[in-house]
Amino acid sequence: MNQNTTDAIKELLYKMADDLLIIGHRNSEWTGLGPILEEDISFSSMAQDKIGQAQALYVLLNELGEQEPDTVAFMRNANQFHNSQLVELPNGEYDFSLVRHFLFDHADQLRFEALANSSYEPLAKVARKVKGELKYHVFHGNTWFVKLGSANEESHNRMQAAFNEAWNYALGMFEPSKNEDLLIGEGIFEGEETLQEKWLANITPYIIKAGISIPSSETWKPVYGGRVGNHTNHLSPLVEEMSEVFRYDPTAEW
């Protein structure tokens, strides 16, 4: 594999892994504080799944010459992360966390689905492995989203407000990379533009069912920057909190 291809794959892996690690951490912040016991356990369990998926990708990065997964996850500063800004936003109320979960997980599922046929076999293998987890996560997101979007006036208004708040950040997940042509050309990944189109097509039926309206497309302003290390000031405290114990003694055996 030539250097350009390796770099492009690394970039792809980093943004996916960082998305998963950060949203996994955010979602885990609900552990013990969830709205009801059963949902608390479900949401926490899915957060663990996401950390596991992130780890699988950090392992691939490690195989491509990057540092150990734990080091990569816990020893970087916020501006070295490549996650989209959507996933670093504070949890807010449960409505926002659910809307984000719905929007993110659909994209995540489609991304892995496309990668299951990637010419980069190690990634294709991971993508096939996480298929079932993602299916459940999306099913969970759809069910809550539709239920709360259409339950009563308060729940509808909350979901619509959270949706409006999340929307431009969600579009930011598809920030084009400088390697789009290479990744598409070499059959590694279908590219952000195609992914965004599929994502829109997939989420629209649920949005209609939930009675939520998508902001009109002239007003869309995707929030880019996360992929190249520009983040909101919410990420730094998250990274510090997440890595506090690890940084206390990076050589400790767990």
């Binding site: 013990g32 504080l33 009801i36 059963e38 949902e39 356990i41 069910t143 239920k147």
Partner: protein, 121 residues
């Protein structure tokens, strides 16, 4: 406000003066009985109960509470109130007069023949 070593608790700004009131009727979801199947072809077994607003959500919760360790291949959920439950007071209905070996499997002479035949091998 509660100040805790767990930063999430502190961030949640929980007021200590909050009085806890029982949930009103609509705030408390009804319960579903969860049955799981360990492998295809096996009988579904009762594994527990979840609170849920509908059957779909009950499945979601049931899967996560009882199937997340990869022990299930299939799940049934049934509204608790749809389950007819017999009364323990009536447990004497399971008693039966013992002298009826003509209707117990052990009473069939054919077993002797089968066993004899098996021994023949």
């Amino acid at each position: 406000m509660i100040k805790s070593l767990d930063p999430r608790i502190t961030r949640a700004e929980i007021n200590l003066e909050n009085t806890i009131e029982p949930l009103r009727d609509l705030d408390q979801w009804e319960t579903y009985e969860v049955f799981h199947q360990k492998k295809r072809g096996d009988q579904h077994m009762h594994v527990g109960i979840v609170h849920a607003p509908n059957a779909e959500m009950a499945f979601i919760f049931g899967k996560e509470q009882f199937g997340r360790r990869g022990l299930s291949v299939n799940i049934w959920v049934v509204k608790t109130r749809d389950v007819y439950v017999s009364d323990y007071e009536d447990s004497d209905i399971y008693d039966t007069v013992p002298e009826k070996n003509y209707r117990e499997a052990g009473g069939y002479k054919v077993m002797d023949k089968i066993n004899k035949f098996k021994k023949g091998f």
